[in-house]
Symmetry: C2
Subunit: 372 residues, 2 copies
């Protein structure tokens, strides 16, 4: 009788007389607890068991054959699949790994990325990808995003130099949250992260030394991505090597601009020849640029390697496919990628949480082919 009255006044459009007091209102008009249409409690109901049991079913917990059958039938019928978001929220881990690299379009990185993808997937992780294009700000944003997304671990091909601190705070926070980070490309002495890198300085040195040995007098350097520390370092190493080998090179023989692509290489080379026409050898900050430059040289009527020796950096597959084949400073991309994954996975497996820091500095090797 009482309820009926309420309903009527409510349906009438106003809920005044009996429900002007909040407590009364809430009592009589609770949030419409609508029956869940999806989710584990729905399917539990269908199967006639408790949600906790269904959860166990999906997580290799112990469930009797009978119950298992009931649940399987219900799953079959409803097409139910557990929601990974909810699970991860409750459980803590997402089984997601963040991978940050300068450029997924550059073969040097996309090959590494493939290794990451395969290995991570094999271990049940999925991979979210972010590209920085050499921008430290972007790197920072991506890290922040990945923190909020609660990835379980991060592979970071950083482009930050030792002087930059933009991401430092963020990384520290991530580490405090016990999120393992593998740092690729440079050693971060300030933070306890595993790291892998190739000795850029040594690589460039080898190249310069070689060019001197084969009698080149005017060596130039072409670089892109000046905001990316790895490339900066290569330029710096070049300057230092020149000095220590007592070669003379005007600042005009060092050009740095744009992205490190084939196009940039092609575009930069003519400029270089204008500024430093006596150039008889160039080193480029990576293979794609070197290939671009080499072709530009040929277009200008120069013979490689007779008139111009060309040396790249990375040893991507393309290097041995172009003609003349590119002489280059090889970094073992695949090995690095493989090892990077190993570092991360061992951290993730957890039993090695307190494992000592792993650090690897690889020695690059000069691969002499036809272009120098």
């Amino acid at each position: 009788m009482f309820y009926l009255l309420i309903m009527l006044t409510y349906l009438g459009g106003k809920l005044s007389i009996y429900a002007h007091r909040k407590d009364v209102y809430n009592l009589l008009m609770p949030r419409t607890k609508q029956t869940t249409k999806t989710g584990i409690i729905a399917i539990a109901k269908v199967a006639g068991v408790a949600p906790s049991t269904v959860s166990r079913f999906f997580n290799n917990g112990q469930v009797s054959a009978k119950t298992r059958a009931k649940i399987e039938k219900a799953v079959e019928k409803t097409g139910y699949r557990p929601d990974a978001r909810a699970a991860s929220l409750r459980r803590g881990s997402t089984n997601r790994i963040g991978v940050i690299l300068p450029d997924a379009g550059n073969p040097a990185y996309s090959i590494a990325m493939r290794v990451f993808h395969d290995q991570l997937r094999e271990h049940g992780y999925s991979m979210v990808l972010g590209c920085t294009y050499g921008s430290v700000e972007e790197e920072h944003k991506l890290l922040q995003f990945m923190q909020q997304d609660h990835v379980d671990g991060i592979i970071l091909y950083t482009c930050e130099g030792p002087q930059d601190k933009i991401s430092h705070q963020m990384l520290k926070q991530l580490l405090d949250q016990k999120i393992p980070i593998v740092y690729v490309g440079k050693q971060n002495t300030l933070l306890p992260t595993d790291n892998l890198s190739v000795d850029n300085k040594l690589g460039i040195e080898k190249a310069v030394r070689y060019l001197k040995r084969i009698g080149r007098k005017h060596i130039a350097f072409l670089s892109g991505d000046t905001s990316n520390w790895a490339y900066q370092q290569r330029v710096e190493s070049f300057k230092r090597a020149i000095k220590s080998l007592k070669l003379k090179t005007s600042p005009k023989s060092i050009l740095a601009h744009g992205q490190s692509t084939v196009e940039t290489g092609s575009a930069l080379f003519p400029k270089l020849m204008e500024q430093a026409p006596r150039t008889d050898a160039i080193i480029c900050s990576n293979d794609t640029m070197a290939i671009g430059a080499m072709y530009a040289a040929q277009q200008l009527g120069m013979k490689v390697p007779e008139d111009l020796a060309v040396i790249g950096f990375d040893d991507i597959q393309m290097a041995s496919l172009v003609r003349p084949q590119l002489t280059t400073i090889r970094q073992p991309i695949l090995d690095i990628a493989q090892q990077t994954c190993q570092f991360l996975l061992s951290r993730l497996s957890g039993d090695m949480a307190s494992m000592a820091l792993q650090s690897l500095l690889l020695e690059p090797e000069l691969v002499v082919r036809e272009s120098a």
Copy 2:
């Protein structure tokens, strides 16, 4: 007095006399409601406001200047960042897009992938990547995973042929959940998804026709990834073109094996010459294989294009970098990628939810360079 007694008996090691009944026990020993150490309610407490207000603060809701300041201070102090998982659980959307492609290491795809990454990121989406390597089972698994992960949309470079049905059920389910899918690589006539593809048949036809025109008599075909429908289709189209142009080609001039890589191309070519020594032209199912085959031919002392004409498919950057430059069937990878994103983004923006199906079949173009 009463409580004290309970505490004592509990501390004594047993909780028997007063707590042997479940309800009494639960009453006296509620789940330790430990103070939340992290999360929005923690920071709300620090700032002295309600969680709902903090939420508004982070979602551009209306918050007064005073409150805003309080929250900012608290955020500053605690380093709090909202948890994207929880938000997505409650709100429904994840701002995550799944991208599935055959091989992220293949330049044809990695270039497309870069486009996806950049455009999606620009619109606030992150990208999870999955590679199938031509396996329909893997494609299915990835789709299933992405469903559970509740991505907001999917870009799918499928490798399923029209006969396969493995993923059909899954895709239907996804579409029922209003998750937009853009289908790249073939038209799916059974499902209402936007789709883009290049006319493989026409492309191959053009190539065969051209080879006939320049007087080649014994044309062979090299393919990899036989499980990937796109590649299958190219082989089939080849057979059909041969027949319709009344050329004679023995089944021995068609080899298909392994992944479509440079290495496979190199490995397959000598076998081909054994089986069909009179071959004077080959078409490969993609550029990387073509490059591999071309170099293998040169290694065998054959001259390209004089002794052997080589035609690839895709027109990746490398095609114009190798010597001789590769003649190839060009598909406008960048345009396709761009358009794919547009399709997806317009679906996601929602106001076009009921928009008509978008379907695009692009015409490939034969780019004649030096190798044929």
